[in-house]
């Protein structure tokens, strides 16, 4: 657990004196302490932290500074999931988070921005928070903070204004492949936001050039239909694992298609605003 102390308006060096007295006499030794201070008040806090065996981390949020004092030797955990692909990263991060006490943070790094986006979805779906994101060198990262999952409150009336099309069939089944995009057009004309999640054979549609080979006499070439649907605002995800199995890499993807992982899929399925249909 972390203790937060608001000390806005107390300038340096007094903020440091206050901090020192707080750290000398902690309610729960080994607990992280966060001070919310005015800008500039953090001067000298570093020395105070070190003196009492804490490590200081400063973050600026708007006009205030958050000075986090973490007992030294108890640094934020970090995990690098580069090279691992879905569902590996999400499971790895999920397991670490499950073992952390509330308020503790975990830094997740990867060379793939898509993996980090998927991990972010997993983190928020499990009730924890993403408190920071960024790029360091060749690594994308996010900082997750463990929070207890809130039980669903009174179910507020949710507007089901979105459609999730789960597409498990691809260019090997023309009728089903067309169905997805024709259905998307109908949904879009009815004002619904469309998200298509391609998985298993469905990812065949994600590869540039594949949909162009599919043509039913009654309809336009499939890739053109797909492009229209994307241009009208649909989001198209391709399951990372299914794509990998079929030798489809990031560079092979058709325009408008993004790789996604299981956590994103789960988040979409769990969102009450989506009506889900399978093709």
């Amino acid at each position: 657990m972390a203790k937060t102390i608001r000390a806005i308006g107390i300038p340096a060096p007094n903020a440091g004196i206050l901090a020192g007295n707080v750290l000398k006499n902690p309610d729960n030794p080994g607990e992280e302490v966060r001070f919310v201070l005015s800008t500039g008040a953090e001067e000298g806090l570093d020395a105070v932290a070190r003196k009492h065996g804490y490590t200081l981390e400063i973050t600026q949020t708007g006009a205030t500074i958050e000075a986090r004092m973490v007992p030294s030797g108890k640094n934020m955990e970090e995990v690098d999931v580069s090279g691992d692909f879905c569902p590996g990263p999400v499971i790895t991060v999920g397991n670490i988070l499950a073992g952390l006490p509330t308020g503790e943070r975990l830094k997740v790094k990867s060379t793939s921005a898509d993996t980090i986006a998927d991990v972010a979805a997993a983190v928020t779906s499990s009730g924890s928070k993403v408190v920071g994101e960024g790029v360091e060198g060749d690594r994308h990262y996010l900082i997750a903070e463990k929070a207890e999952r809130q039980a669903a409150g009174a179910a507020a009336a949710v507007d089901r204004d979105r459609v999730l099309i789960v597409q498990g069939n691809g260019i090997g089944n023309a009728e089903r492949a067309y169905a997805t995009f024709i259905f998307s057009k109908v949904a879009q004309s009815m004002g619904r936001k469309v998200t298509i999640f391609l998985l298993m054979d469905g990812v065949s549609l994600a590869k540039k050039g594949n949909a162009a080979a599919v043509k039913h006499p009654a309809f336009d070439r499939l890739d053109r239909l797909m492009a229209e649907v994307v241009a009208a605002g649909a989001t198209v995800y391709a399951c990372e694992l299914s794509a990998k199995f079929r030798g489809i890499e990031q560079a092979d993807l058709a325009d408008g298609v993004k790789l996604a992982g299981a956590a994103t899929y789960l988040q979409l399925l769990s969102d009450p605003a989506y009506a889900v249909v399978n093709f």
Binding site: G168, I171, G172, N173, V214, R246
Partner: protein, 109 residues
């Protein structure tokens, strides 16, 4: 030249028109070259059996190989990405892939 092989090949070709039709609907109606080869091969195989002429048997055998080849070239790009759906192509491909062996047997044995 044992004409029996050509008779078996004929049986396969006739059967393939049915399985081919089923398959062709799954693919979105783009199997014209393969279907064309199949029909022509069917006609020439019939002629080979009816006449027994060596030259026609050779042409029939060649066409039968082309049927198998066009099946491959037309469907491989799709099957490569269609693990779940490929069993639906099984019957047609299973039959058609028997043709090259029968074709060779019909001229060599």
């Amino acid at each position: 030249m044992d004409i029996t092989y050509q008779v078996i090949a004929l049986a396969i070709l006739v059967s393939s028109t049915v399985t081919g039709f089923i398959t062709f609907r799954m693919l979105g109606m783009k199997l014209a070259p393969h279907f064309g080869a199949l029909i022509i091969a069917l006609a020439v195989t019939l002629a080979a059996i009816a006449t027994g002429t060596g030259a026609i048997v050779y042409v029939a055998a060649l066409l039968q190989v082309i049927v198998a080849l066009t099946a491959f070239t037309q469907m491989w790009e799709t099957l490569k990405y269609s693990f779940q759906t490929s069993p639906g192509y099984g019957p047609h491909l299973a039959l058609v892939m028997m043709l090259p062996v029968l074709a060779v047997a019909s001229v060599a044995l």
